[in-house]
Symmetry: C2
Subunit: 353 residues, 2 copies
Amino acid sequence: MAQKVRIALDAMGGDFGPSVVVPGAGISLTRHPDTEFILFGDSAAINRQLDKHPAMKAVSRVVHTDVAITMEEKPSQALRRGRKTSSMWLALDAVRKGEADVAVSAGNTGALMAMSRFNLRMLPGIDRPAIACVWPTIRSESVVLDVGASIGADARHLASLAIMGSAMARVLFDIERPTVGLLNIGVEEVKGVEEVKEAAELLRSMDLPELEFIGFVEGDGIGKGAADVIVTEGFSGNIALKTAEGTARQIAEYLRSAMSRTWRSKIGYLFAKSAFKALRDKMDPRKVNGGVFLGLNGVVIKSHGGTDAEGFASAVDVGYEMVRYDLLTKINQTFNRDGGSLTRMPTAQEAVS
Amino acid sequence: MAQKVRIALDAMGGDFGPSVVVPGAGISLTRHPDTEFILFGDSAAINRQLDKHPAMKAVSRVVHTDVAITMEEKPSQALRRGRKTSSMWLALDAVRKGEADVAVSAGNTGALMAMSRFNLRMLPGIDRPAIACVWPTIRSESVVLDVGASIGADARHLASLAIMGSAMARVLFDIERPTVGLLNIGVEEVKGVEEVKEAAELLRSMDLPELEFIGFVEGDGIGKGAADVIVTEGFSGNIALKTAEGTARQIAEYLRSAMSRTWRSKIGYLFAKSAFKALRDKMDPRKVNGGVFLGLNGVVIKSHGGTDAEGFASAVDVGYEMVRYDLLTKINQTFNRDGGSLTRMPTAQEAVS
């Protein structure tokens, strides 16, 4: 049997700490028994939880620390206060030292990103990290990135995002050559930003065997599943993600109020209860919990801070799959072979000036 | 009684031309009898429709032209081919010449924007146009701009958007001092783009009597109705709008398939039919049809090209209200009094360099 997947957990991350992290990891363990954990944080609190989850206890090692990063700390503060000592840092450090294959944290996103960059460093050829998420679509699911790690992107960074995103899609969706679309707008006279048009040319000219570039996708194409991978810079990607979440909540609210309007609609609700449950499951944000930090020399998964055990389990699942199906190897393959053309190739702007 | 609102219609715009434009305007006329129309386009086709709608015929004048801009034409092409001759241009020209108070077109957005700028010119103090839309929220409705007229924005342009958007909110929602939020992201270390942070400082320091600046709003705040006016530059605004539309369609699709899964859910659907109808009405994109071009020396309304008469009527309604409640006067008030501080004030970057 293959080696176990070793997962480092920031047990103090998120709104609920070990009381969500331990049972959450326990749920994931039932789905992937070939996992073992190192938990970083307050050992008393962690052990209390492990005592309630013997299966977890059997595959876990606890490393105590008193320092935990709060959700309010600024990244710079967190680095100053928590470097080398906090549960978040230690989980990342386990990945750097090769003691774990992936780190999962439900903590402060900005702090986790700053510590990840500082500790793990970037992969050669990539200058800035990205956060990728799994986006449910009418067809199935897509990888969308960057949803907020860094603002703005030149053509080469967008091409790197395409390469990393398609590696992630190959891991998650088990497809040989994922389709990739660049998020763009179709309204403005010039039809989009210069960098995005340049990135399209770059991806076309690279013609990579690992991805099929299909051109531009507008915002409404994401939910349609227009491409397996949707690429954009972090500002608009974050706006898109949050806006979709807001719209989903808004419609759920409309639906709730519509179904409780009259006695007829209430009866209808009772009859269709299982259908509504299926719908709720389909829209359950916990199922797609787990943002993947890409571009780092190591795999880091960010869980929502406010999620429950079920949601945290999804984030651990994502971490497991990234390791089991060799995300980093897949990314490096492309960069080692074709990354040169990303750094050598001048952008259109440079070529002109 | 007040003067009639005079509306110039590009009768050839959109996928269906006069067969949607005339009955659509007719529906709006029943809601606002103090309206009259000038219709530009193929007079034979227009008159055939007017014969079917005598109430419209009684308040309409037809100006014939053979030239119509297609949905596929690039803005530059459209300008070359259709300047001074096309139904779109002539409708805008009627506004410029003071023969109409507002132009409504369901035609090609890029062409309409290019012709509007070329013909009507910008308001003094505003250098680029914006498209504003009405966004349904859990609370009620908000104005969101820019949803795609121009890409990127410095702090001063964002402040202009805030002023124009709140003028529009005062017209539509009948509130004295609308709340205004700047769309931003909360993930990245520096929490958003430099220009957006500068715009926040600028709006705070201007402390305008016409709007209440409430700070940053994330993507999921739009649907919550976090502010009456949401301001962002055109790329992310367009992505947000299209993504929300896509998500709404996706959930409607989920709901349809959930309700037809079992005989129980089908019975439930029958009982709750009126509730589903209410939900459909609430999510009906035709009700919020009508993008407002802001920043021009005249009012221009863009209807979706593929809409039906009901949808086109909403766009005409928006045009009517913008004129009746003096959008341009409201915008100019602020700019004439405080616009100076937008042009005089150096941006933080300039102040430093």
